[in-house]
C-alpha cells in the first residue's frame, strides 16, 4: 500500500479544514495510507519571498525535521508551497552541508496534489459527479513554477456532468501574492477585481483553483461583488458525489 | 590609457587586466531561400501586409507604371538616386515627360523636403519581412527615401537575400545602412495606426523582372 505524508500548508491548516479532510478521504479511497506529521507548521515561503532568507531557513528546518521521519512522498494542496519546498529549499542551504542534502532529498519527493494523482497514482478519474458549469483559474506558481499546465483540466474533464467553460485570461494572476495583499492593498484589489470580472463574465457557476491563497482571494472577491458563484479548491470538487 | 569606466568594470568583474573572451555563443543558422518566384511573391506580399504597394514590372512597363503612380499620388516634384540602374531605366526622363519637376538628389534638405516623390533602388530585399535594405553614398543620398511623402524603391530579383545573415555578410563594412519595412507608422494616439508620421506615408516597391 503506497503511503503519503500530508502537507497541510499553513493556509490550508488555518482556513480549509474541509478541503484537507476531503484530500485525506480521497487519497485513502485511492488506496493511499496517509501519514500526518503533526510538527509541521508553514513552509517558510512568506519569509523567503519577502527577502527574509535567514528566517525562511529557520522555518524550513522545522519542515525538514517534521517530514524526515517518514520516507513517504509528501503531498500538499498548493502548487506554491510545494514549489517552495521543491525548488527553493535546496537554494536555502549551502551545498555540501547535511541540511542541503536533506533539502535536496525532501525536494525530490514532494508533490502537489493533482500532480500526485495524475503522475504518481496515474489516476485521472476519481469518480466525482458535479453537474455544474465550471471555470478554472490557473494559479501562478502551480502553472509556472511547477509547470502544471494540464493536470487540473485533465481531472476536471473526467468529472461526470461537469461542463467546462474556459476563463478569459485564465493565466493572469488574481492579485494574491501572499504579503502583497497587505503590502500594496490597492493594487492587489485591482488585480482581484479584474479576475472577478472575468469569472462573472464566464457564465460559470463554479470557479476552481488548486491554490488556497488564490481561493481566499477569489472567494472573498466574489462575495464582495455579491455573486453567488462558488469558488472551490479542486479537491472539494473532486470529492463531490 | 587611463579609463575609469573600464577600470571599474574590470574591478566589478573581478579582473585586474584586460582578457580575451572565449568565443561568442553560436547563433541560429539563416533560413533557406525558396525558389526565386516564391521569394518574390513572399516579399511583395509582406510589403502589402504593411500597407505598401508592391508589384512586379518589366523595363518596358516602367513608363506606364510611373504614369499611374504620378496620377494616383498627385506627384508634382520628384527626386531620384543617381545610380546606373535607375539611369538605364530613364526614370527621370519619363517623369519629366509626365510634367513632373525634378530635383537633384544632392540638392539641399529644404529642396528635397518639398518633393512629393523620392525614388531609390534597394540594395537587398528580405522576403520574410518585405524589408528593403538601402546603402548610402553621394549617388544614394539618405534623404531621398526619407523626406518626400512617397517613396518608390525599385528592386531586382538578384537583390533577394534569404535572411539577415547574408545581408550582414555583404554589408557589415558599409558606413550606413537602413532597413525599410513598410511606410512610416505610429500608433501613439489612442493606438490608432497612422501612416506617414515623419517619413513617407506611401511606399511603392517595384520588382523589376527581366524579360
Amino acid at each position: 500500500m503506497p503511503q503519503a505524508q500530508l502537507f497541510l500548508t499553513c493556509l490550508g491548516d488555518q482556513f480549509y479544514t474541509r478541503t484537507l479532510q476531503n484530500m485525506t478521504l480521497l487519497l485513502e479511497r485511492l488506496g493511499v495510507e496517509i501519514v500526518f506529521p503533526p510538527e509541521q507548521t508553514c513552509c517558510g515561503q512568506p519569509h523567503f519571498n519577502n527577502g527574509f532568507e535567514r528566517e525562511a531557513r529557520q522555518v524550513a528546518r522545522n519542515f525538514l525535521r517534521a517530514f524526515s521521519r517518514s520516507e513517504a512522498p509528501i503531498v500538499g494542496p498548493s502548487g506554491s508551497c510545494v514549489s517552495m519546498v521543491k525548488h527553493h529549499y535546496p537554494e536555502l542551504f549551502p551545498p555540501g552541508t547535511v541540511e542541503h542534502e536533506t533539502a535536496v532529498e525532501i525536494a525530490s519527493r514532494v508533490y502537489e496534489f493533482t500532480e500526485y494523482l495524475v503522475h504518481v497514482l496515474k489516476v485521472t478519474d476519481v469518480g466525482a459527479v458535479y453537474p455544474h458549469k465550471v471555470t478554472y483559474h490557473a494559479s501562478c506558481h502551480y502553472l509556472r513554477e511547477m509547470g502544471l499546465k494540464t493536470e487540473a483540466k485533465t481531472l476536471l474533464n473526467a468529472v461526470r456532468g461537469l461542463e467546462f467553460i474556459p476563463l478569459t485570461e485564465e493565466e493572469t494572476c488574481c492579485g494574491f501574492g501572499g504579503a502583497f495583499t497587505v503590502t500594496y492593498p490597492e493594487v492587489s484589489r485591482a488585480m482581484m477585481e479584474n479576475k472577478v470580472r472575468t469569472i462573472l463574465a464566464s457564465g460559470a457557476d463554479t470557479v476552481i483553483t488548486c491554490e488556497p491563497g488564490c481561493l481566499m482571494n477569489i472567494a472573498g472577491g466574489l462575495h464582495k461583488a455579491g455573486s453567488s458563484i462558488r469558488a472551490m479548491h479542486i479537491i472539494d470538487l473532486l470529492a463531490s458525489k | 590609457m587611463n579609463n575609469p569606466v573600464l577600470e571599474n568594470i574590470r574591478r566589478s568583474l573581478g579582473r585586474t587586466a584586460p582578457t580575451s573572451p572565449s568565443p561568442r555563443p553560436a547563433i541560429y543558422p539563416p533560413r533557406q531561400a525558396e525558389s526565386t518566384e516564391a521569394e518574390i511573391v513572399r516579399s511583395l506580399e509582406e510589403v502589402r501586409k504593411l500597407s505598401g504597394v508592391a508589384q512586379t514590372i518589366h523595363a518596358d512597363t516602367v513608363p506606364d507604371a510611373l504614369k499611374t503612380l504620378v496620377a494616383e499620388q498627385n506627384i508634382k516634384k520628384a527626386t531620384a538616386w543617381n545610380t546606373p540602374n535607375l539611369q538605364q531605366l530613364q526614370i527621370t526622363h519619363h517623369l519629366a515627360s509626365l510634367g513632373v519637376e525634378l530635383v537633384s538628389p544632392n540638392a539641399g534638405k529644404h529642396d528635397l523636403a518639398l518633393c512629393d516623390l523620392g525614388i531609390t533602388e534597394a540594395d537587398y530585399l528580405l522576403p520574410e519581412t518585405g524589408t528593403l535594405v538601402l546603402k548610402s553614398s553621394a549617388e544614394k543620398p539618405r534623404a531621398v527615401s526619407l523626406l518626400p511623402r512617397v517613396h518608390l524603391a525599385i528592386v531586382r530579383p538578384g537583390q533577394l537575400r534569404p535572411d539577415l545573415h547574408q545581408v550582414f555578410d555583404e554589408a557589415r563594412h558599409d558606413p550606413y545602412l537602413v532597413f525599410i519595412t513598410g511606410p512610416s507608422r505610429t500608433a501613439d494616439i489612442e493606438l490608432t495606426v497612422t501612416l506617414g508620421v515623419h517619413g513617407p506615408k506611401s511606399l511603392y516597391v517595384w520588382m523589376l523582372e527581366e524579360v
Binding site: 472573498g220 | 569606466v5 561568442r24
Partner: protein, 474 residues
Amino acid sequence: MSETPTYIGFETYTEHIPPSIPAAVQQATGRFVGGRAARVAELPHFEQLRQIASDIRLHTIENLDFYLERLAEQVTAAGGHVHWAATAEDARQIVLDLARRHNVHLVVKSKSMATEEIALNHALEAAGIEALETDLGEYIIQLAGTGPSHIIVPAVHLTKEEIAAIFSEKLGIEAPADPVELTRIARQVLREKFLRAEMGISGANFLVAETGTLVMVTNEGNGRMCTTLPDLHVAVVGIDKVIPDWDSLTVFLKLLARSATGQKLSTYTQFITGPRRAESEFGPREFHLVLLDNGRSNVLRDPLGRQVFKCIRCGACANVCPVYKNVGGFAYGWFISGPIGAIFAPQMLGTPVARELPYASTLCGACAEVCPVKIPIPAILRHLRRRVAEGDSLAPATMPAPIRAVAKLSAFALAQHWIYRLGARILPLVMSIFRRGDWIPSAPYPLSRWTKARPLPPFTAGFRQWWQKRKTGL
C-alpha cells in the same frame, strides 16, 4: 518629470490611481500581447533564439570591458568621437559642451532612455537650448509635461480629446480630436524643426563592437530625421547596449520587434558607422558617442543582479505584468517601468531610494515567461528583496524595523511547532469576535489591509482535531 528621484513611493502612488490610466494601458498591452503571441507562433525556433540571445547577452556582460574597448576603437577608426561618461553629470556636460562648441540653438531628439535617465532635456533647457522630443508619443507628453505611461506608446494614457486640447493650447492652432489630423499637425510642426535643428540626439538599441556601429530601431522615421538632417549627431548610450558583432544582431533583431509590438521588424532599422563620408549623401558631419556608465559598472559586481543588463528594452515583461497593467508607468517613479524597472531602479538608484519596487510584484512569473533574453526577473526580485530586508555585501538593510521585527517573531513561532499549534488554537477564538456569518468582513490591523478589499474566510483550523479524533476512534 525626469529629474533623478530621491525616493520612489510605490505604495503612496498606487493608492489613488485614476481609473483611466489602467484602462488605457490595458488596451495597449492587450494589443501588444496579442501581436507578440502571433509572431512567436510563426517562428518555430523562437525558444532556441531566446536561449541564444540570453547566452550572447550574458557573454557580453561578462566581457563588457573587452567589447567596449573594441567598440570605442572601431567608432574612432570610422571617424566618430567616443566620450566616456562615468556619471550622469559627466554625460550632461559632454553634451552641453558639444552644443556650445557648435553654437546649437535647437536640438531634435529621437526617443532615448539614456537621456531620460540623465534628465538631459532639463540641462539643455537650463542652458537656453531648445530640446524637442520627436517621437510622436514623446512629443505629446513633452508638451503635456508628464512622464511616459508605457515604453512603446508613452502617451497612451491621454485621449485624442486631451491631446487636441494640448496641441491647441501649446501650439496655438485649432486641433481637432482626430488621431490622423493630430498626427498630420505634428508632422508639419516637427518637419520644420528637423530641417532647422543643428544637433540630433539619439540613443541606440545596440552598439556593435565589431565595426563600431550604432543600431537604431524606430517606426515613425523621426530617428532617421535626427541622424540624417542635422550636422551633428550625438548618441547617448548606456554601456550595457554593446553586442559583440553583426552575427549577434541576426538574433536580436528577430526578437526585438516581435517581442515589443508584434511586428516582424520595426519600420526603420539604421546601422550607423561613423559620420557621413560624402557631404551630399546626408548624415552628420560629426558623430559623437557618449558611453554612459552612471553606476552600471558598480551593479556588475552582483552576478545575479547584473542580468538586468541583458535587457533589450522591448517592454514585453510590462505588457504581461498584472501589476503594471493596473498601475501604469508613472507608479515606478523613474523612466523605466514594469518588472524590468522594478529590478533596474533599485540597483541603479540604490535600495534606500527604490526599496519599495522589488515588492511591486506578486512573483507570478509571467514576465520571465516572455522575456526574449530570459532575464530571471522573479529571482532577481527575490534577491533584491533580500537586499532590502536583510542587507547584503552591496547594501545594508533598508526595511523598516517594525516589519523586520514581525518577520523575526513570526519565523520564531513557525519554527517551534508547539507555539504554532498553540496559536492555531487561540487564533480561531480571537478571530471569532470579528466573524459575521461565513465571513470576517473586517479584521484588525494588519489584516484590515486585506479586508478593506474583500472579506476573510473564518479561521477554522479544525483538521488536526479531526485527524486526532479519527485516529483514536478507529
